[in-house]
Symmetry: C2
Subunit: 562 residues, 2 copies
């Protein structure tokens, strides 16, 4: 028999094992997993912690309710699974691995013809001092989720601190507040949440969403250390000396590839700490493949190595590793890094590079920002949608998109992701065909609009202004909204009000070279007015992307120089 | 001034006019519309008729609540709009049009430098005899929607008949039943609803959805004529002699291009009755463009002319016509025909060709059918999703997709639409990256699965069987579900039950050349078992796509030869 060993029994490892077992009965497949569980949906841990899923094993069930445990893998797939077993050494020259069975502390050696490393990721540990405690958790493993849930169920968690405002931190805050009513604080050392995938002005909408649910968000705040009070409960001590008493501390400071074992075996590790693989998931050493969160992947936008920890990619990588071993034709060329999360009814998605990332990569970056209704305004279910598109100025090549809203959001990031993977441009956005029906979308999709906004900005010089640039704008602001709208929520009394329907009548009122910025509720009226003024010979015209609705969504005040 | 006349004040015409007004102030733009209303969202008419939108003018409002009427177009866009004015003649040699103002019956002549024809579509009239009556309507215009709504509000509509089971017919049935409690019958002469975009086995799910809401669906049924009873109410008389008493009859027999005016002017009309245009929306006659529902477009899948009536395409065509007049660089290369509708909480979408269409076009067609959960099974909001993919066997080129479900559906059709427009293959489906998060999707998307199903069928010979082929299958059926599932809803006692976990133990029980079809609840277990048996040397193995869940969704009985 051809012996295949797979180290790691989560998405990538189990997918590879299952695929191999389907491709041939000639393989003797063994999965070795150091934890007691395998093949569970770890993206569901926040739901489990929140109590929306009662039983942890729900996360490990097939669609027909059978738990994917050792017996399932053996009976159904003919795959042997060793849980609680930790591989300690990969002896590449002998094609064997040595593992310790934690159930009896015995050490064994297994031979392989092919080896797949699917060791996943690990939580980044805090740099500040703290002692380990059941009340301090990275929420990275099911055991940690279970511990927290039991404590919450016993009413032991009244206050919690989340150190790190990334994806898991934000998702957790919902679980803590909505379901357990825990007084929750997020501490983030940067000046914005979700910085890896969102520019600050978009993350500000997320921040406001979370704040409105009574989560205390502390930005630009660093933890000095964690101490314990007389009841052995953690006290978070900040660099400025402030102290936050709590019952539970989560640190969510990012995750990194679990590649120690591979590194020890002499397998090539990349600059980001992940295992280096080719398109077939082959590592630098013969007969060894790697897949999932332990590898670095090619960023299809930049062409450089990147690190994404995404269950969707892990599954695809696992399949490709299996196909490669079985000499089936498939490949994994990389990813654009499309992420999606839902927090308090708000769906937050991004694909590709943020403006900051793109600049750091050396691109000549342009961006546009906008607000739309996610379906026709006459539809009773209409919701707001905000987005920022990042592109390369020469050629209008797409670089990234950030979208946020309470209604239809994910469909647009999925399509954008595909365009991005194929090096497409803003013109391709304009030409997109989508499944239009009023209950789900508008006839012109936000992606169509974003494409037009780029072309209008670059070719026709109608500047789209990001709200974060408003304080630096030195010129005239004209509010195009109707009097009733302005009364309800005005920008500022420093802004000249002229409803759009009257703007043509004011076409000779201003200096043609004077910088003028048009403002309205969402943007389209401002764009319209900008074109009107430009057609009449004004040459320094811009409009505010997202308009007043952006400020409302971000809970910010419109802030101008006076 | 450069004079531009636009005939038709709906999506394409208004979009072209608005774009032209933004591109330059040198254009004198006139829209001529024969109806009293312009620029309303006519896809919202069913919502208006249903009462979900109170006021018709909601459909014609901007996002900030201003009605897009003559005054709005003049004040904001500098565009003159003539409503209730019907163009009777286009004199192409003189570059002028003659129209009659219905308000005073005066006839006028206008000159143009450029003319855009955006006359839209018209309802196909019934072939059977009927006399015109306020109780017989095509539901194609706002006046018809208004008349019906007033009758319904007065309680005058207890029973209604919809002749024609296409999109509008199905959408209307929801409005009639859900909101007005009207006893409703759909009469369709073909043996399936929605035949233009859906194969019968997928349309059967729609049919069942509608039937479960107490709509009476009569397929393969033809109307002989409509007569009137002593109260002047319509009686629908069928070819078989049966009579259906009703208060209101809608005929929804499809729509066709309103191209009579263009044809009279000598403009080239295509085989489908639509105006022929190039990629810039130019017609066969200089200085005349056409856009929207009155034109035929290039089907990007077949490369042949096709006819789609979609607001999303009309907007894009209107923009391109304007750009062409203004000598801006843009083009409309055609469409794949992506449609979407929502009926009774079920979202129904399709893109490209049905299996029948594809065969009629001469393709060597393959197809796969499947059922999935739209997010992880552990998620509380999980919903079923059914789909059928149509492809060309050589090269696995994508030809079409039909998807139906109550949850996340539209995102997949949007992405598919983009792949289809770019001539992509099943391999590209496997490599798709999507925004994965448990509240919105599974790590492996239905599109990823569909791609794998095609490759597995074509390369690895694991046949996916369409439920409509089951009655013709001459072999052994094996039900892989757990005993509990079978008790709850068994296929048939003619089917051999062997749970998946025991299938390996039965690997020597059957003739290796015997045709065997595996069945389960949705399909994955059957696929798994098929691979297991094939690996053990069986060579005539297939599995039922969509499994028992398909029969449940379609309200059908599993039907086998015995």
């Amino acid at each position: 028999m051809f012996k295949i060993i797979i180290i790691g029994g989560m998405a990538a490892g189990c997918k590879a094992a299952a695929r191999l077992s389907r491709l041939s009965s000639d393989y003797q497949i063994t999965i070795i997993e150091r934890n007691p569980f395998i093949s569970y949906g770890n993206c569901g841990l926040p739901l489990y912690a929140a109590g929306e899923i009662d039983d942890f094993y729900e996360l490990a069930k097939t669609g027909y309710g059978v738990i994917r445990d050792e017996k399932y893998f053996l009976d159904v797939k003919g795959i042997k699974v060793l849980t609680n077993c930790e591989v300690e050494v990969i002896n590449t020259s002998q094609c064997e691995i040595q593992y310790t069975d934690r159930k009896n502390n015995e050490t064994n050696i297994l031979q392989y013809n092919s080896l797949i490393i699917a060791t996943g990721s690990k939580a980044v540990k805090p740099g500040f001092p703290y002692k380990s405690s059941p009340c301090i958790s990275s929420f990275h493993s099911p055991l940690e989720a279970k511990n927290f849930k039991e404590a919450a169920q016993k009413g032991k968690v009244g206050k919690a601190v989340i150190v790190g405002g990334g994806f898991i931190g934000c998702e957790l805050s919902e679980a803590l507040v909505s379901l357990w009513g825990i007084e929750t604080t997020i501490i983030e050392k940067e000046d914005s949440l979700l910085l890896k995938s969102f520019d600050p002005e978009i993350a500000a909408i997320v921040e406001n969403t979370i704040r409105l649910k009574d989560v205390n968000v502390m930005l630009s705040t660093e933890v000095e250390k964690i101490e314990f009070d007389e009841n052995e409960l953690p006290v978070v001590i900040l660099k400025d000396g402030a102290q936050i008493q709590s019952d539970y501390v989560f640190y969510n400071l990012g995750i990194k590839p679990e590649s120690t074992l591979a590194e020890k075996a002499g397998i090539k590790i990349g600059t980001l700490g992940g295992i280096v693989v080719d398109e077939n998931m082959k590592t630098s050493i013969p007969n060894i493949w790697a897949a999932g969160d332990c590898v670095e992947v090619n960023n299809l936008v930049t062409g450089k190595p990147d690190y994404f920890s995404l269950g969707s990619l892990s599954n695809r990588m696992g399949r490709v590793a299996a196909d490669s071993i079985a000499e089936e034709n498939s490949s994994f060329k990389g990813a654009v890094g499309t992420i999606s999360l839902k927090i308090f009814n708000t769906t937050i998605t991004a694909s590709g590079l943020t403006e900051k990332n793109a600049k750091d990569c050396g691109y000549n970056v342009g961006s546009v920002i906008g607000a739309w209704s996610d379906r026709p305004d006459y539809h009773p279910d209409v919701k707001k949608l905000f987005g920022k598109l990042v592109y390369e100025k020469p050629g209008f090549k797409l670089l990234g998109l950030q979208l946020i809203g309470e209604g239809e959001v994910t469909r647009y990031i999925d399509v954008f992701s595909e365009l991005l993977a194929n090096n497409q441009t803003a013109f391709d956005l304009i030409n997109l065909e989508h499944g239009y029906t009023p209950p789900h979308s508008s006839p012109i999709s936000p992606l169509n609009y974003l494409g037009s906004m780029v072309i209008n900005q670059e070719k026709n010089k109608v500047k789209n202004i990001n709200p974060n640039q408003v304080p630096f704008f030195d010129g005239i602001f004209i509010d195009l909204r109707e009097p009733l709208e302005i009364e309800a929520a005005g920008f500022s009394n420093k802004v000249i009000p002229i409803p759009l329907s009257e703007i043509r009548a004011h076409r000779d009122k201003f200096e043609h070279s004077q910088p003028i910025m048009f403002l309205c509720e969402r943007g389209p009226r401002s764009y319209e007015a900008a074109r009107i003024f430009m057609n009449y010979g004004y040459n320094n015209i811009s409009y505010l992307g997202g308009g007043n609705s952006y400020y409302k969504a971000a809970g910010k005040k419109f802030d101008i120089k006076v």
